[in-house]
Subunit: 271 residues, 2 copies
Amino acid sequence: MHFTSKLNKIIDLQNSVLCVGLDPDLNKLPNTLRNETDSLFKFCKEIIESTASYTCAFKINFAFFEAEGTKGWDALERLVQIIPVGVIKIADAKRADIGNSSQKYAEAILKKMDFDAITVSPYMGTDSIAPFLQWPEKGVFILALTSNPGSTDFQQLKTENSTLYLEVAKKANGWNTNKNCGLVVGATNMASIKKIRKAAPELPFLIPGVGVQGGSLEDSILMGADTQGKSVLINASRSIIYKSSGLDFAEAAASEAQSMQQQMNEIRNSI
Amino acid sequence: MHFTSKLNKIIDLQNSVLCVGLDPDLNKLPNTLRNETDSLFKFCKEIIESTASYTCAFKINFAFFEAEGTKGWDALERLVQIIPVGVIKIADAKRADIGNSSQKYAEAILKKMDFDAITVSPYMGTDSIAPFLQWPEKGVFILALTSNPGSTDFQQLKTENSTLYLEVAKKANGWNTNKNCGLVVGATNMASIKKIRKAAPELPFLIPGVGVQGGSLEDSILMGADTQGKSVLINASRSIIYKSSGLDFAEAAASEAQSMQQQMNEIRNSI
């Protein structure tokens, strides 16, 4: 089954478009965990177990694991194995390089570690992305318009016929022959989300930037989802995983995830 | 000492602008090494020891280590420690993400692992690059124009006033307040290298694409170096490290590195 079908099937089965972002900052973990060995793994394991029923996907941010060196990389490899089969596993790694290097990244992350999907940066163009797209069942979310202030520097530059982020969206639409290409679309500019949806009607959107970064949940779903309220993943990281800094962090995360799932479904049902 | 001064000092001391790229593909290692444990580390260690006298820098391609998972990451951490102090250590990692994630990547790679420099992708803009630039002694090579075919997809798009890769070069010039910002400039289009040098007169260029990828060595140095024949690093990976596939791979690499150093110096002396 190709990635987009798999994603939409899981959205149905889980009745959720929530993606929980795992960005485990050692300095923000509950005191009781912070000084334990293997704390990143233990923290994320509890978050995964407590929130999995409410989510469609987990997005693991590689930066926070690489920050702990070999130990962090080892935790990452074990973590991806404990995510339930019925939930999408996204490697938030923002890779891409010339072809033979991208091939190595793709094999490592999508095959050996067995993530279902990865985020990649489009700057180096088609042959830097192609190795990630070779397996129809594996998804590739291309950065189009991100949610950070620096998105104005290049992504929003006018080109001869368009704007850079729309050029990326159109190109990604052409890369979608295996029905496994998606886009990262920040929640911070609703008119832009609408334009990207028009340029790439069938590509799944991974939308960060609600929650701590302040984007509107309602508008993100209304502008970003397809006509059936699917092909969209709304990511929330810090607002869920750090909901409580106490011993009840996993319960608090579950409660917040459930609440977000419900809010999202109300909006989806209104489409 | 800020990075650009350090780089140019090492170019003088080593009398070399050669950067040896370590892209150790397990499938391409000599038979004798391929099946040993810790083969990536052993192969690179021999290459480093045999070529260090002829080089200004080693560039370690993270993709080839991540391909081996935790073991590969562990090899990478040990490898960076055995590169001689008088040679620049570049992490070819092509990272960049929103600010708090880039901060984690920057700490991990430039501080904990203690690389001297890193390659980053500009697509997410200023705040995604800023964390890497915070230490004046650490260099940040921004992808401007790469040497692969896909560089035409976005990098060479015309913008309202310029071309995307020149917009990146100009922006990077503005990011150079700590004198530690550089550019990755592929060797495959000489007119473009000249334009980038004009847009960013003082930034060091890391130039891949000579050797296996076919760019002209002479033109790359003539267009890319500053008026003193410095502020430039010419990278060669496969043409050096796989010069021989036999037991003499380290000697063959040394001989090729020495030959390239000499060719480069003849061209530099003609400036």
